[in-house]
Amino acid sequence: MSSMLEVNNLGISFGGLRAVNEFSMTVEKGELYGLIGPNGAGKTTVFNLLTGVYRPDTGKVVLDGKDITGMRTAAVSRAGIARTFQNIRLFGKMPVLDNVKAGLHNHYGYSTPAGILRLPSYRKQEKRMDEKAMELLKVFDLEKDAEKTAGGLPYGKQRRLEIARALATEPKLLLLDEPAAGMNPKETQELMDMIRFVRKEFDMTILLIEHDMRLVSGICERLTVLNFGEILAQGSTQEVLTHPEVITAYLGE
């Protein structure tokens, strides 16, 4: 059985700055993997490289046996990677339900004329999309907010909606960019439960970036530590968190 994600020797420079260098990692199917490191270490850049926001200068990304290196963002999504953003990016002026339905875009289709002329395929598919989207909203306890405008939701709900939207694309791999940012300990605890639940319920492989050590050590099986764009340590959570260089990097921050 192949791994879910294999990254080999990934690198990119901005101007003269080497933002990510010789980055390699393997995420197994069903694994919950953490990518950690101090601010500016290049974690989000790695996400942007994986999802085609940036094109890597070097290296290769293979998703479930398929080479997706250098693909455009939309194609990467169709290949099976979904993500959330560090600074939440919802479709703020659209209703919550429509945010999730937008996520279903590539799985439930009808032609443009069918949509304009309200043909039977429109009605049938819209109904299925409504049901599927409501199902997802229920999982994230957002069904009561379905008709509210997404931009008006409180912070915690926005984070959850972003995950729901990502899952609507039926990904193989879910990337979470600092899901606990800005949350209090109670909310963080709930989020951890939810991530575990998503993983079980959707049989999902998850790669997450996180600052919150409690969250990382609580749920991740393996970690990669990034510092100044380079891998500092890699291995099981226990090993990595006791690694002397990692401790220095964090305490020295």
Binding site: F14, T44, N48, V53, F85
Partner: protein
């Protein structure tokens, strides 16, 4: 020789565009707004100079100075009353439409005062041109003065921005308004100053434009305004050398296209060149490339 003379005319027209474009680009850089009323400030400047010379018997220089003064004040008034309330609005379209409202306003005030009949503008340049190569190439006084003014404006403006406190403040505000405020820069004052300078330049451009093309109507400013805006985008909007370069190139292209291709299609050619440049370099010739943060 005729090519050389076209080229000089082009550079002269380009200098006018450059002076207008400088105003556009400074305002855009600092307020992030497309000031569609800028062209009409040019027209107001020309009318002020026209009135001062024809009715009040001013000589050229005082008339020009008066035009600059009036336009500077006008620029600040427009900014304070019409634009400032909207600079923080949730949509940048709000201030754009307001600028169009201001443009209509200026045109119609002038229309009410002076009527729709074109006025024939008397050139403010009083010396005859020079004749070179035994009369094969004559350069008019207006052309020389316009080109010199263009260079002078560019030099003075660059020095001002590079070497004075206010100039540095402008750069800071255009870079990051919030940070500039925290640094103790008077943001509103700086924006007003930018409008003042831009509008003063517009007055100079108005007088020069009407000295070269002496027909003055309330709508005289709109097309040069749009073209100068094009020039600013062409050079990379927000960039001062870019506006200057863009203005010059645009003027030269326009005159050469008129001379060698078709006078009716010269505008289309100018706009086509703009489109091609933007497609190759989406932020203009000297524009800064920005990477969107994800």
């Amino acid at each position: 020789m005729s090519f050389l003379s076209y080229l000089l005319n082009g550079i002269s027209l380009g200098s006018v565009y450059a002076i207008i474009a400088l105003g556009y680009t400074m305002v855009y850089g600092i307020a992030k707004m497309l000031n569609f009323a800028h062209g009409d400030v040019i027209m107001v400047g020309a009318y002020v100079a026209f009135t001062a010379i024809m009715s009040a018997g001013f000589s050229s220089l005082p008339a020009v100075l008066l035009a600059i003064l009036v336009c500077t004040v006008l620029g600040v008034v427009i900014e304070t009353i019409a634009y400032r309330p909207l600079l923080e609005a949730s949509s940048s379209l709000a201030v754009l439409i307001t600028a169009i409202g201001v443009s209509y306003f200026l045109q119609n005030v002038v229309l009410l005062i002076f009527g729709a009949n074109p006025k024939s503008f008397q050139s403010v340049v009083h010396f005859k041109g020079i004749s070179l190569a035994g009369g094969a190439l004559t350069i008019s006084g207006e052309t020389i003065v316009t080109i010199l003014c263009g260079i002078l404006v560019m030099v003075v403006l660059t020095t001002f921005i590079g070497h004075t406190k206010q100039g540095q403040a402008m750069l800071a505000v255009s870079e990051d308004k919030g940070a500039a405020q925290l640094m103790g820069i008077n943001v509103n004052g700086t924006i007003a100053l930018t409008f003042a300078i831009g509008s003063g330049l517009a007055a100079i451009a108005g007088v020069l434009l009407c000295s070269c093309y002496p027909v003055l109507t309330p709508y005289t400013g709109s097309m040069p305004g749009i073209k100068a805006f094009t020039a600013a985008v062409f050079g990379g909007i927000g960039s001062i050398p870019g506006a200057f370069l863009g203005g010059l190139i645009l003027g030269v292209i326009e005159i050469l296209a008129k001379a060698y291709i078709s006078s009716q299609l010269s505008d289309a050619i100018v706009f086509a060149v703009l489109i091609i440049v933007l497609l190759v370099k989406p932020t203009g010739l000297l524009g800064k490339k920005t990477r969107e943060k994800v």
